[in-house]
Homo-oligomer: 328 residues x 2
């Protein structure tokens, strides 16, 4: 691994983010990443966070049109309430704060506690839970479904609603609507290695894959001999469509887990597009790349979000963050 | 690997690029990626290309403010002259075409032949060779130094010069100046796997690294037991500064080779910044991410480009491509 020592991996990365992105204010000691112009007068703020190891999620999504702040925890470990309260205090303009929480037990508990603490300080807080992964109903880390790729859609679209000055209850409502309209399915072709462990976190022999993998390498639905990109696309899309049958065109995220070459990810995207066309699902917008990663896991995930005209308009709105940028 | 069969990897990826990026026209059969609005009247066009497996280089750099077209070869294999001539014909507005060629024997020969063929068709062609890698003077694939990360700086800055309407000789001159002002050094922590071979292309045991690696896994200077991110940053920066001692602030690219998590890459970037500060080198602009990759190789490279005010202005100019976008 390209690290100094496991103990400083997150702090080192935050120093590196601070030096790379002049639009961010990074509090390395307290582990809070804030857009430089926060608080923005009259506007709702969005705060998210979660374990590190999923970059660019969430710190790479901080900036105008998306998150106001992000709180990175240790690798694959929830941040603590103190970080979230600091972040909320740094970005609240008085219009309130929306916490975007991926559905993992630690994150849910800590964001709940942070919301209480922030409200004690006079900050109005709303929460949205992201639970888009159709692979398993419960898992090692969750009660209910896991939060994965839809987090990007929630943060982008709710961020756009906040940026155009919508009040907290409407920003919260659109965030919930995006989550409710989104489903994901992931697959691993190789395990990931955490800095603390220094060896693969699970055992996935060459020539096998795990269908329905979680973003920490949690077990999915099935271990199978290697499949082609086309077969994997069919498995992923069909698992999603069994749960959500969109009537409107969708936003499509074809997401790399970390170690899958972009060359392969584009080829996989072509197969996902083929399967969606065969199933009669129209695609309105596409994003292909590494956005919600699992360190150096090999594999990919597919996320669909059924988008009406309002969601599409908010998706297209300008955004300027390290990892997502258009129109500004 | 997330592929169908090795034989269709490049074609599959091109289908996936076409469906992802409405700003590009992708000729899958002939393997040419062109910005949709080409040819642009009165403006010089830039054409690059090389073996596939380095994405987003070059196809991800096609668009306003950067490349006019790119020609992807098979994985780690030069494209053929026919692709380059097609690309030149598709983008030439009459103002001429600059070929941006990474210094590998196959690419050099094929772009030379393509230049002759294009000139026979009445297209004015200039060429710039990129040879920024200080690790080795000759290699498996090159006479002279290899072309790596500086390709991004050359394509961005010469692309900006073309976009603002500079004539061919000036676009060529600024491209040469960027290459002459740039140096790179890379390190591998793990090998890459080509689709055709299906197993690692070279042997790099866990716990060892290769200093001075090439972007196809060609041997570098030295095999060493694992080093810390800080020690690697010192080795890379010092190798570069032994060859180029900048007086002006530099553009800095901290580039992931493919499988290195962004979390680690940011931490490595922090160490590169520390070493540059200790050596008295000022950093004007920074880019951290996977830009010139080697499939799923673990590792990173550092590229410095000494930038005067003209280069800085052209670097900052608006660009709109799949992988690099700002100001538009």
């Amino acid at each position: 691994m390209l690290i100094n020592v496991p103990e400083t991996v997150v702090a080192d990365a935050l120093r590196g983010m601070a030096a790379a992105h002049p639009g961010l204010t990074v509090d390395v000691e307290n582990r809070v990443i804030v857009r430089r112009d926060a608080p923005v007068a009259g506007k709702v703020a969005l705060v998210s966070g979660g374990g590190s190891g999923h970059e660019p999620l969430h710190g790479g999504f901080v900036g105008p049109g998306m998150l106001s702040a992000a709180c990175p925890g240790e690798v694959f470990t929830s941040p603590v309430p103190d970080q979230m309260v600091r972040a909320a205090a740094a970005v609240d303009s008085g219009a309130g704060v929306l916490f975007v929480v991926k559905n993992y037990t630690g994150d849910v508990l800590n964001f709940d506690m942070a919301a209480e603490l922030a409200e004690d300080e006079g900050i109005q807080v709303a929460k949205v839970l992201v639970d888009d992964d159709v692979a398993v109903s419960d898992s090692l880390y969750t009660a209910g479904r896991r939060g994965t790729g839809a987090t990007l859609f929630v943060e982008k679209i709710a961020g756009a609603a906040a940026e155009e000055g919508q009040p907290l209850e409407r920003v919260e409502a659109v965030a919930r609507r995006v989550n409710g309209s989104s489903r994901s399915f992931g697959v691993a072709l190789g395990a990931c290695t955490t800095p603390a462990k220094g060896s693969p976190t699970f055992d996935l022999p060459a020539g096998e894959l795990e269908l329905g993998i979680g973003i920490h390498g949690e077990p999915g639905r099935e271990r199978r001999p290697m499949m082609t990109a086309g077969e994997i696309a069919e498995a992923a899309v069909d698992a999603i469509l069994a749960d959500l049958r969109p009537n409107n065109p969708v936003l499509l995220l074809v997401n790399g887990m970390g170690a899958t070459p972009l060359l392969e990810l584009y080829g996989f995207h072509a197969e996902v597009q083929r399967v969606l066309a065969e199933r009669g699902v129209a695609v309105a917008r596409v994003l292909v790349g590494n956005y919600v990663t699992s360190l150096d896991m090999a594999g990919a995930s597919v996320t669909l979000c059924e988008a009406d005209e309002e969601l599409l308009r908010l998706w297209d709105a300008p955004v300027s963050t390290p990892a997502l940028r258009w129109g500004m």
